[in-house]
Amino acid sequence: MTTFFQLIVVGISTGSVFAIVGMSLVLVYRATGIVNFAQGVFAVLGGLLTYSLGQHMSLVVAAVLATVISAVAGTVVAVVAVGFRGRTTPLASLIITVGIALLAEALLLTAFGEVPRSYRAVSDHAWNIGGVLVQPQYAVLAVVALAAALGLTLFLRRTIVGQALVAAADAPRAAELIGLNLRSVAVIAFAIAAALTAIGGLLLAPTVPVTYNADLSITINGFAAAVFGGLASIRLALLGGYALGVVEQLVVGYVDPQYNLIIALSVMLVLIGWRSRGELAL
């Protein structure tokens, strides 16, 4: 039974990262109609930048700097991915972000090399709760994911900028008519999502070393989390992330570590298939 709870604890911590990436994807999708294939790149960027900057300064300062730099990178990706009005379709934007992901891997490999990087966690101490070891890093990740979900929901519902993001996606023409600049909306959404994903990535690196090409599996796990809520719900993306993380860890613990990605992705395929019933053009 201890093993079971231990797996759940680890699952919730990795699931938090999937949830964070999933929520970032939902935010960008709700504001721009674009599914950002390069979302996982920001998690890798966050981790690798924190490692490199951390050589010269305290890890906390490095982490803050890495988050800011990732947000700036997010604005660049936004401008390129949105493309030209009336010419770049959402599907073309998706393909553009695939290109950005490939390009980003080349740049990350050039800048940081191919060695997996890791650094000190928030604390070396681990809590022992009835035989189950809980590292403070796990708790931090889970809390950050929860806080992000709460913050994003309030942001979209209660703030004028958040309302603008939702309006821009729901009725782009009407939003433009009342004076919203769709490009600025996209830039804001991408920047917030990039910063959030970078935080998730840099918090994960102490437990799972980060490499330049880890973005693909992070993106696809994040997408799987987002699919729980049909790419529209922050809350369901959070739950989806936790569920996915726990399922993967249970597979690792009880079936075979080689099957964790296979089973997680199969769950996603079944979910997508299930969502498609009765919902034409979701």
Partner: protein
Amino acid sequence: MSTKGTTEPRRHRRSGTFRRAVLLAVATAFACWLPFQLSREDIGLYDRMGLYALVAIGLTLLMGFAGQVSLGQGGFFLIGAYTSGLLTVGLDPDTRLVDPNAGIDPLLAVAVAPIVSAAVALVIGIPLMRLRGHYLAFATLAFALIAWSLLYAQDRFTGGQFGVTVAKRLSVAGHDITGATHAAVVWGLVGVVLLLSANLVASRSGRALQAIAADEPAAAASGIDVAAFKLKLFVYAAALAGLAGGLFTFYAQFLGPEDFVIVLSLLFVVMVSIGGLGSVYGAVVGSVTIVWIEHELRALGTHESLLGWHLPPQGPSILSLGVFGLLLVVIMLFFPHGLLSGVLGTIEATRRRVARRDRTGEPPPGVSDPQRTRESR
């Protein structure tokens, strides 16, 4: 994705069907003759171009007409390759010994490969074809990742990272199909598939597909079963990828995970975007270009330094990831109808502008925008 580029030449299509078939036959004959004149190394490259062209033709139809992007064609290619390979070697998973006499005839194995790929596509395609594009994109990518992970997880069958050597050679009526002959057969098939696909686009089903591409709700309203047509295209594309995979087995005579990396699936998307979504001939141009660029980049990447810049040991992957990523971004931003038609269109617009300026003496207002020039005519 809009398919202005593909609907435009339709007027010429009817009158020139016969002429085009003859042209295609001549081009195919040349393509089949060419490998016998090439060096050993070039034959391999040329063969790979043909194999990837088969995959790209299927994908371009799917992207151009169904408005769906598959990021998992490499997965169908993989399934085709391992299907034909494993059926041929007669692998015993318990002893891990290869029995040369146990497998089925390679020719039969190659024929089974597209059927298996198509069957898999049918199963995963039925629920997906009703959803918007990005779901299919991620679902196919997930499928490709699953297939690739299974190579390692089920290494009793696939040999895992060590792969499987396929000793038997593909042969028809006693003639071994290897080297230049293999390349000729592949390019002959490319010709056949081009003819089939071009006819498909021009047929009654093709008109339905064009209607779907132009305006999906309108097509559905006129009684076209949109989901069914999209599914057929998806299955057709998967079958072509499976066929290419099946043939790949007897090109390499060896199967290992290295030849089926996930980036391959993304490369097929780059090939299609070069040629233009929905353009079957463009897909061939795209695959030839990409295979050639990749070959050149690999040679470049192994240099110690490039333009005074020191290259790390991962030079080849940096160069190919960077160049293909950049190509994809630039093409989708500036030439969404394909690099080929984009460049040709720009040349054509410039030619017209020059011709008009010659007539009137000065450029008419607004011709600086090629799009507007086309509309004003």
